[in-house]
């Protein structure tokens, strides 16, 4: 591998260091179609400049053991942007913006399985691109809320029309947001946390 000398490795800025008391982290996944504003939302609430982790879809990566048709030059790189919010001196929250296509999800071990929950970010101009990802979260039993990123030229539907179009259970929150605004993105995360809390109270989370 073409690894450059350690002197050239950039690291976090001093102000971005986590305290030594940081004991554990939790994660929330923001999922949606291309261009829907996932990275914008991560960036608007993150305390660090959003970073990118990459993974290469190779034969090892897709869990195929044989060399059938092998040409490793065909490897595809998939990137995922993420940000961070320090909750307490001990606890850190990470936010991952991930592509909607399920074939990318397994690349990062436990991306959804361990997440507290997910935010499905939708664009009313292309509502149908979020259909599949919502279905996959339902199949996997990952709790989620739906956030509608408001684009000025996007059609505006009443929330109940959206609920009906997305065929969402009555308890799943739908909120409008402006992913560029910190307070608005924060409110989306709060909506998810309140939803998770209500599931915990009723014991509905399985």
């Amino acid at each position: 591998m073409d690894f450059k000398g350690s002197d050239t490795i950039p690291g976090p800025r001093t102000e971005d260091h986590l305290p030594h008391t940081a004991q554990a982290a939790v994660k929330i996944v923001i999922v949606g179609g291309f261009g829907v504003g996932k990275t914008t939302m991560v960036g608007s609430v993150s305390e660090i400049r959003p970073l990118t982790t990459e993974e290469t879809m190779t034969q090892a990566g897709i869990g195929v053991d044989d060399n059938f048709g092998s040409d490793t030059k065909t490897a595809t790189t998939v990137a995922m942007d993420f940000g961070r919010i320090s909750i307490t001196d001990q606890l850190v929250l990470y936010l991952f913006g991930t592509p909607g296509q399920e074939r990318f999800w397994f690349l990062w071990n436990g991306l959804f399985e361990g997440a507290l929950g997910a935010v499905v970010l939708v664009d009313t101009r292309r509502l149908e691109v979020s259909f599949d990802v919502i279905g996959r979260l339902e199949e996997r039993g990952v709790p989620f809320v739906v956030a509608v990123n408001s684009f000025p030229d996007g059609p505006r539907y009443p929330v109940e029309d959206l609920r009906s179009a997305l065929d969402l259970a009555p308890d799943i929150p739908i909120v409008e947001c402006d992913a560029r605004r910190r307070a608005s993105s924060r409110d989306v995360l709060m909506t998810l946390m309140r939803f998770l809390h209500s599931l915990a109270m009723t014991g509905a989370l399985t």
Partner: protein
């Protein structure tokens, strides 16, 4: 204008990962969920999540590779595997292999993430809410 229409799906037993049950006392420590096995001679990787926090336990030994030296410099303060992947500009899977070697050598320590549980820890959810409110 009528929006397009989706059909709801339901939890599929083969897709729902078993959610770990909380342990009795001091439920903070949980067994690793599973080992992530890779094809190749390097055997098994440690079960590292994107948000497992890695902390250096030692100064770089003389035998340290450049990658290990870089990793130890970055982890003088806790840093997640995802951040290490980003700063080292290496794929997540490569970073997990590197960290596995360094865990085995006792060079770094890993602090496991808190994952979703069958009975979620309400105080954890409340702590996250309080943290978000301060943003």
């Amino acid at each position: 204008m009528t929006p397009p229409q989706r059909q709801r799906r339901h939890p599929s037993p083969e897709l729902v990962e078993p959610v770990p049950k909380p342990e009795g006392e001091g439920g903070g420590k949980r067994p690793p969920e599973r080992l992530y096995v890779v094809a190749g001679p390097d055997g098994e990787r440690a079960d590292l999540d994107l948000v497992t926090l890695i902390v250096a336990r030692a100064d770089p030994p003389p035998s340290a590779t450049p990658e290990q030296t870089a990793m130890l410099r970055l982890t003088t303060a806790p840093l997640s595997v995802a951040e290490l992947s980003a700063y080292l500009n290496l794929p997540f899977s490569v970073v997990t292999v590197l960290i596995t070697e360094m865990l085995t050598a006792g060079l770094v320590q890993a602090r496991a993430p808190i994952v979703r549980q069958a009975l979620p820890d309400r105080s954890l959810l409340e702590a996250v809410m309080h943290g978000l409110q301060r943003l």
